[in-house]
Assembly symmetry: D3
Homo-oligomer: 145 residues x 6
């Protein structure tokens, strides 16, 4: 594999590990930009919006350029596909999600011309809107930016 | 969350962390059964088969009972949906995957009647059948067993 | 086939036959638990809810355990996939459904260790929200419980 | 409902009931054309082909006209969606199906201008290519012709 | 190809070309019925409704017969699949569309028994509900009527 | 719309118009790079490969960089989704396609920082592997590069 920085794996760990667990594993966090966040909803639009807002507020994408929001949007949608396993209209399907997410931007490939990529990871629960009626779920989307 | 053992997260870590990294994080591995494996293919049937074979060889499921293979199969398919983000016919789509996987079986919920659940996690790469033309991918499926 | 009680076929007949027709066919209804119901909606959430409520009220699942609601939910979703043929967000797609449904729980396999399974069948119409602009539709989902 | 002949229900019964059971229920079979058949395969192309061949051999469609094969094809695909619940590439997904099918053609609506419609129903099993590792499945597709 | 009138291509051109551009290309518009329209929405139901209303108002389908609205509906849905590339619940996915559409009805095949077909084409933009954050999109559905 | 060069529309016209028709419409072809090609197959892998080969041979993408092949691949897949309307495994579904395609690369947005985008358009037929049993189909995918 030509990648030397696994931005997808780093995003997954940032989304799923607790602060204490993150201290135990040495991650090369100084080599890229990232942010973390949380969102819970029966409405996928709110999940998308929470990730977009966090990425913009942390300057992970330049919201002035559509190409960057386009890249982020498709990475989010790929991550959501993993979370919902093909049923993205979660509210209509009577599901609710409680998610932590991470967005990581950087250069995962050795060759400098490969440029920057973005990874969006989700970890949390999906289930019925009833306490305890839920199980874990994970999603990861990656795109060039 | 009623879960006290996050079998999905543990499966994701077993699939994505290196042996060295796994030593750094303390996981409650003594509380459940698990196995790890690797598979690379353009044929999703081989990926399914690799996970099923590993789970049976490690006695994670009792292959004599259809209800256990049925539970495992749907957990695998949910994990593959995350890996392929909806395009499971990877060969037809000219994609190849190189994956590490983990299967974890145990009791993630406090209440004993919730019984056993199974988690199947994948981590690796998906891309064109050309060296370096690939990026990371992750998938997780969870089912009651 | 190892099955000696075709719970899926029984669920389909309970959902699609009239009371008179059901009297004509001898079904081994004493060997399992079942319930029947009706629901009409443009909102898939209401369809899911109607089946879940009927199954709980008739003690087909124990709503105290997530593993049972999890099993039922996936059986419902598989049945809905047949009803909508892949477009589960029926309201957004300007469709309405009028459905009769049946939930059947029992032991369809000879081997006692195969345990209990659940079948959810739908029969009715799908179409535009205009009287007469509709045709028949059927769906069946089956899961171990 | 404006329908007075439920061709979908009749197709489902022709596909799922045994000869003995069919004798018990009075169906208005004299009012339309129909055929029955069987197919088992890991290859969805063979399932499609079996239904098309049976429909042509029994003169249910006029194979000289594309509009009739087009109508039948989409009805078959809708039925297959119910059978596979969204994973039509069954071989790639390591599934095999054993199906009985029925094709019914006739005029289900009161108004003569509604013309002829076609229903394709499947009933049988889907599962791993291992004896006994399978459960029931049903699918129904309906189209104007 | 047995077709001598490419109704899909004509629909695409009617949806995507400006009035000036349409004057430059000679289209056999006298050989079939057609209409054009515009719709912008985050709600797919409004897109479906706009096309259905335009088709009825221009007498492209006879709204008294379900078989004609059924045929049109499936052609619209196929066109929408191209527009959204599989994510038809655009509002839930935080997308908005601005579309021009055309519906064309006629006899595209040489053989008179092939009868009438209908084509629905969309051309426009899909994107975030933010000015400029959008790119082009196209969809085409075709059905016998 | 901020776009002043509609690369999607240009790609659709390059894929669907004959040489004669293309002469009638004035297209700003000098402002971007493009290529055209043809492919017929029951195997989607061959369609993908035909577009990738044409794009590389005409230097529309730099095949040395994965980010460019990644961008092209997703644009192809979006276009194929329109062509197949969700059933990309065409061979398994007993369908064959005969397609003309165009790939267009350029700067469709006024703002120079929006950079280059790529459009992949398909126009042709999809149908049964029987002469004449086919109708038109169109697909368009667009991505930043």
């Amino acid at each position: 594999m030509v990648q030397n920085l696994a931005i997808g794996k780093i995003a997954i760990l940032l989304a799923s590990l607790t602060e204490d667990e993150l201290k135990q594993i040495k991650l090369p966090l100084e080599k890229f930009s990232y942010c973390q966040g949380r969102v819970g909803s029966m409405n996928m639009q709110k999940v998308i919006s929470a990730v977009e807002t966090a990425a913009k507020r942390n300057a992970l994408i330049n919201e002035g350029y559509y190409r960057e929001t386009h890249s982020l949007y498709h990475a989010i949608m790929e991550g959501i596909n993993g979370v919902t396993r093909g049923q993205a209209a979660i509210g209509e399907m009577s599901r609710t999600v409680g998610l932590r997410f991470a967005v990581v931007r950087g250069k995962p490939y050795d060759h400098p011309e490969e440029g920057e990529w973005i990874a969006v990871a989700f970890y949390g629960t999906i289930g019925a809107p009833v306490k305890g009626s839920e199980h874990e779920t994970v999603g990861l989307g990656i795109n060039h930016i």
